[in-house]
Subunit: 190 residues, 2 copies
């Protein structure tokens, strides 16, 4: 997606240790027009799979998941990291390591909103090592739902998430692929 | 906004102690079509104020803030509750009490994305006691920006947030007003 890649080239900052700062349009400030285009592009890649629900993780997954859901006309469920007082007592919970925070994070989804009849598309902002997406896929399986695809806005291919998730046997799509962040550069796949 | 009020009547759950569960369309599962309509309705109420930026708080504020931003064609900045590794070291921080969690929460915004030239509309999912919105208004002031309006999807008027925020001197709009949740009921203002 050229619009997105141009934006990464202009505003993305390589902070070292494989950390890409895109806070000016995705992770702190959000450009809604870009995010709408991102959702449209992700939706187009998955439209043929017949998903009836999108699953994402709070916090940064919400914006691209919402615009993809809008384009597909289906609801989105965002896994919670802290248990709200309104959450169903039987919420399904998995833990996933957060490398940027150095801690284990819980992800929770209520069985009220994910079950055996659901065909699920997982959408997140980043595909890096794939650990958050793996945790979401575990929630989908535990709910008895069917995973049909995985989409990310930005993929850091050098972190190996795509290979790590290959056993899930579903299409994995990303709109901008970064192949290297060595020596302070941000190398985007053509 | 009748579409929203109908949804609250059909799916809202009074959990007692003033807690309204709207997890099936706002706080855990999100209905994107409803959220787009919510954003359009909020945008219409504030279009004349010339805001150039929306400020909200993660997590549940993101969806309505994004659709309002989309309708107004301006960016949205969501205040972070935990400091990401990508965040500017000089991020502005305020603390606000979270009654549903019984703890103090930090809200942080980077000076990269909020400054003296900004005219800001604050959007959040709920207006209850107004403490989160007050904290966001403090961040706006500290950034040297100008607050022009406050919008919420659902207002729990009996919790007094509107009166508590009156000193800010800006229009406060909400799309559904709940006047009472006593005796297990959810009373919506006509």
């Amino acid at each position: 997606m050229e619009l997105l890649k141009d934006r990464i080239r202009r505003e993305g900052v390589n902070l070292g240790h494989g950390i890409l700062k895109v806070d000016s349009f995705i992770n702190h400030q959000v450009d809604p027009a870009l995010m709408l285009a991102v959702g449209g592009a992700l939706a187009a890649r998955f439209a043929h799979l017949g998903a009836n629900k999108i699953v994402t993780a709070e916090i940064s997954g919400i914006a691209p998941a919402l615009t993809t859901a809008l384009a597909l006309g289906i609801p989105v469920v965002y896994a919670r990291k802290t248990r709200p007082v309104t959450m169903h007592p039987n919420a399904m919970t998995v833990t996933a390591p957060s490398h940027t925070k150095g801690v284990m994070t819980e992800l929770m989804i209520s069985p009220e909103f994910l079950g055996p009849r659901d065909h699920v598309l997982i959408i997140d902002d980043f595909l890096a090592r794939g650990e958050t997406i793996r945790a979401l896929a575990t929630l989908v399986r535990r709910a008895g739902a069917t995973l049909v695809g995985i989409g990310a806005v930005i993929e850091k291919r050098f972190e190996g998430g795509r290979a790590a998730l290959a056993d899930l046997g579903v299409p994995i799509e990303s709109l901008a692929v970064i192949t290297s962040m060595e020596h302070g550069r941000i190398v985007l796949e053509d």
